[in-house]
């Protein structure tokens, strides 16, 4: 049992536990805090995969920017009260949970059937460094990178149009 496996087990258990916390707790703000823990555990998992830049971006973008936005909206809508958040268990939810478990079983079944042999065994030791990612992003994948800016522009315009108060 080496250190890497111990780290993976701890971070994986933390990630699964906080993910269950997101869907199990009643209050949205607790779910958001649980999701922040989940994102940080995932950043740790990226570190065990030698993806340093991804880990940094995970904490900055997800645990930072996106979760601040979510918490801001929860606070803005004042969704605190416990009575109003009581959930009714309906047959629709039962069907949904059953379908999800079937889907998860199918995915795990497929993964355990396929044996992945890694051709890049020790191929790129610094594959996750900022230098390597920046070179790949701005040399090999520069057109997809530019296309992404269009998505961001569309999102900005869409958010403004949707959230603004309509004047008659």
């Amino acid at each position: 049992m080496n250190l890497e496996l111990v780290l993976f087990t701890i971070l994986g258990a933390l990630a699964i536990g906080s993910a269950i916390g997101v869907i199990a707790v009643r209050s949205p703000i607790s779910a958001a805090m649980s999701l922040v823990v989940h994102f940080i555990a995932l950043a740790g998992l990226y570190l065990t995969l030698n993806a340093m830049f991804m880990a940094a971006i995970q904490v900055l973008v997800y645990a930072g920017a996106i979760m601040v936005l979510v918490v801001f909206v929860i606070m803005l809508l004042n969704l605190g009260s416990e009575e109003k958040l009581r959930e009714r268990f309906t047959s629709r939810q039962g069907v949904g949970i059953t379908m999800s478990i079937l889907l998860g079983a199918a995915i795990v079944f497929t993964i355990t059937r396929v044996a992945f042999n890694a051709p890049g065994e020790g191929g790129l030791p610094s594959g996750g460094s900022v230098q390597a990612i920046g070179k790949a992003l701005f040399v090999d994948y520069v057109y997809p990178f530019e296309m992404v800016s269009l998505i961001l522009l569309a999102a900005v315009v869409g958010a403004v149009v949707l959230a603004k108060r309509h004047v008659e």
Partner: protein
């Protein structure tokens, strides 16, 4: 070199994806459903980084960057929709919103 097999990461990612999809199908609160979608996106990101590491190819990590950008765009638009829904209907529970239900 790789002390942890790739399958461990894939199964962990599948479990997180499963939890996220249960949340999307079982919860009513639009903001919690939104957070569960983020969970599912992150599970896919973990798969991509795992493959990128084990095949020694950076394309997977570039793909993760794209997914993160789409997730940020989705956060902005999705929360704007929730905000405008709350302003019009005074609720964030999706089973109370049936305007487009036949």
């Amino acid at each position: 070199m790789h002390s942890i097999p790739l399958n461990y990461y894939l199964i962990l990612s599948a479990v997180i994806f499963l939890i996220g999809s249960i949340g999307v199908l079982a919860r009513r609160n639009a903001i919690i459903i939104f957070m569960c979608i983020e969970l599912m996106l992150n599970a896919v990101n973990l798969t991509l980084v795992g493959f990128s590491r084990f095949f020694g190819d950076q394309a997977g990590q570039i793909m993760v960057l794209m997914v993160m950008t789409v997730a940020a765009a989705e956060a902005a638009v999705g929360l704007a929709i929730v905000l405008s829904l709350f302003r019009n209907k005074q609720t964030v529970y999706l089973d109370e919103v049936n305007l487009m239900k036949w």
